[in-house]
């Protein structure tokens, strides 16, 4: 890691968007588990996720980025599928 003399002036970030390299998933106590067969692909989870941790590939939700998901569970509460396509599980199981 850089010493104080090597850092850009004033705490600015020059490689903008480097939050993706800042791993915050370790803060999680519960994790959302994606149940693909129950998902209706409404994208509600994607819209409500505060950490942009819902992974979308080829216009479909395929799971969660556990490097940045903090396990808040908003996605599981807001999931519109019946039965729900997201279940919260205790982190120590994984």
């Amino acid at each position: 890691m850089k010493t104080w003399k090597e850092l850009p002036l004033g705490g600015i970030i020059k490689d903008v968007g480097n939050t993706k390299d800042y791993i915050t998933g370790t803060w999680r106590t519960e994790r959302p588990v994606f149940l693909e067969d129950k998902c209706t692909q409404c994208f509600m989870c994607c819209m409500v996720c505060p950490d942009s941790a819902v992974i979308i590939k080829d216009e479909k939700v395929i799971g969660f980025n556990y490097n940045h998901c903090k396990g808040c569970g908003i996605c599981a509460v807001e999931c519109l599928s019946k039965p729900k396509a997201i279940e919260m599980e205790q982190e120590e199981q994984f």
Partner: protein, 398 residues
């Protein structure tokens, strides 16, 4: 080619701002600095300057707008006093941590409570740890000269730190004084063009300001921030010398008035220095070796230079125009007493709190201080380490 003019302190600040012609002034008026903002808005309305004048809804917002404008790469100025500075508090730290150059003229006024609009230094002394450079001004001439030098100091690539230029409320801000101003083109040449660095409006070199900074980088960034203040000392000195070569009025960290051969010295800041000089002249005629150290630069604190200047004195009185509740004395006293600690021979030292809420400081009070210093020298005894001038109390000097 300078011009001799008469102006109030507030008008002087505004005149400097007119000549500097900053990109943005975001301000919220407050007594006793209101006229600064009024003059600037008038200059904008009259087309004398092309400054973007932002009327904010509070001082917190005013400084926030200044921070945004400075991050956007503009030359930015602002003015306030007392409660206004207090409301800016959290943004003061953010401006300095982001290493954004800007100038804030603070017309010193007592912080409430009790509510009061008159001069003392509780506002800027309270802000002494905010990471801003602080320049103090005895009179309108020094206000004008400090404003111009502040631009160069603040914007220097090794400094990139905001500057407060302080002047006493009413005594300096409202009284009419004579001073020399310089021609617009000479001022323009002295301050130079603003060099934009890391602008948030530069879409080709995108940067983020104000990102979260935890255990991994916060400490390193704070250490780096201190370096701007440390390095500003030599820049303040070189800019002060260049100002002297250019306009004939040289500046350093402080002014010594009959200090070199003095035995009894007072240390003070801002307008009180004028009164003290008058008393020194009288005392010198009576054969008393009295002197003054008038501090101009409080942040960064020039500890070594002050210790060097004071170490040969017999007894020294530090005048603080603020009361630092629960401390060993005023902030100036604590700093100077600490600065002298490493000297092998040290003068006796006492602290006087004076002028709170605009309370008068007259020649009689100054004379009382010098008399006390001589008595301490004679008896070797300090009765009161921290005392109060012109305070009604039993056993006081009145």
């Amino acid at each position: 080619m300078s011009k001799r003019v008469v102006m109030t302190g507030n008008e002087t600040v505004a005149e400097a701002v007119r000549q500097i012609n900053p990109d943005v002034v975001a301000a919220y008026p407050i007594t006793p600095s209101t006229a600064v903002v009024e003059y600037i808005s008038q200059y904008v309305a009259d087309g004398l300057i092309d400054t973007e004048f932002v009327t904010a809804e509070s001082e917190h917002s005013a400084l926030s707008a200044c921070i945004g404008a400075a991050a956007g790469g503009g030359r930015v100025m602002n003015a306030t006093s007392a409660q206004g500075l207090a409301l800016m508090w959290e943004m003061l730290y953010i401006a300095s941590a982001m290493r954004l150059p800007m100038i804030l003229a603070v017309v010193n006024r007592a912080l409430s409570g009790p509510i009061n609009i008159h001069g003392d230094h509780s506002d800027t002394m309270g802000a002494r740890d905010c990471g801003w450079i602080q320049l103090y001004s005895e009179n309108c001439q020094e206000v004008y000269d400090n404003m111009l030098q502040a631009v160069r100091i603040s914007e220097h690539i090794d400094v990139r730190t905001p500057v407060i230029v302080a002047l006493d409320g009413f005594i300096t801000s409202h009284a009419i004084d004579t001073l020399e101003t310089e021609r617009d083109e000479d001022v323009k040449r002295f301050i130079g063009d603003y060099i934009t660095l890391n602008s948030i409006l530069d879409t080709k070199n995108v940067v983020t300001y104000g990102a979260i900074d935890f255990q991994d980088y916060y400490f390193e960034h704070k250490r780096q921030q201190l370096e701007g203040l440390h390095k500003s000392a030599e820049i303040i000195k070189s800019v002060g010398e260049e100002f002297g070569r250019t306009f004939g009025r040289e500046y350093g960290f402080f002014e010594g008035y009959k200090l070199d051969d003095a035995e009894y010295a007072i240390v003070a800041m801002n307008s009180a220095a004028g009164t003290i000089k008058t008393v020194i002249d009288d005392l010198r005629e009576e054969g008393v070796k009295a002197g003054l150290l008038k501090l101009r630069v409080f942040r960064p604190f020039p500890a070594a230079e002050i210790a060097e200047a004071l170490k040969t004195m017999k007894v020294v009185a530090i005048l603080d125009r603020t009361s630092t509740a629960g401390a060993q004395g005023g902030p100036l006293f604590s700093e100077i007493r600490s600065a002298l600690y490493s000297e092998s021979s040290r003068p006796g030292i006492v602290n006087y709190i004076y002028g709170l809420g605009g309370k008068d400081l007259t020649p009689e009070h100054i004379r009382y201080v010098y008399d006390t210093l001589r008595r301490i020298d004679r008896t070797g005894k300090i009765d009161r380490l921290v005392d109060y001038l012109n305070l009604r109390e039993e056993g006081g000097q009145d």
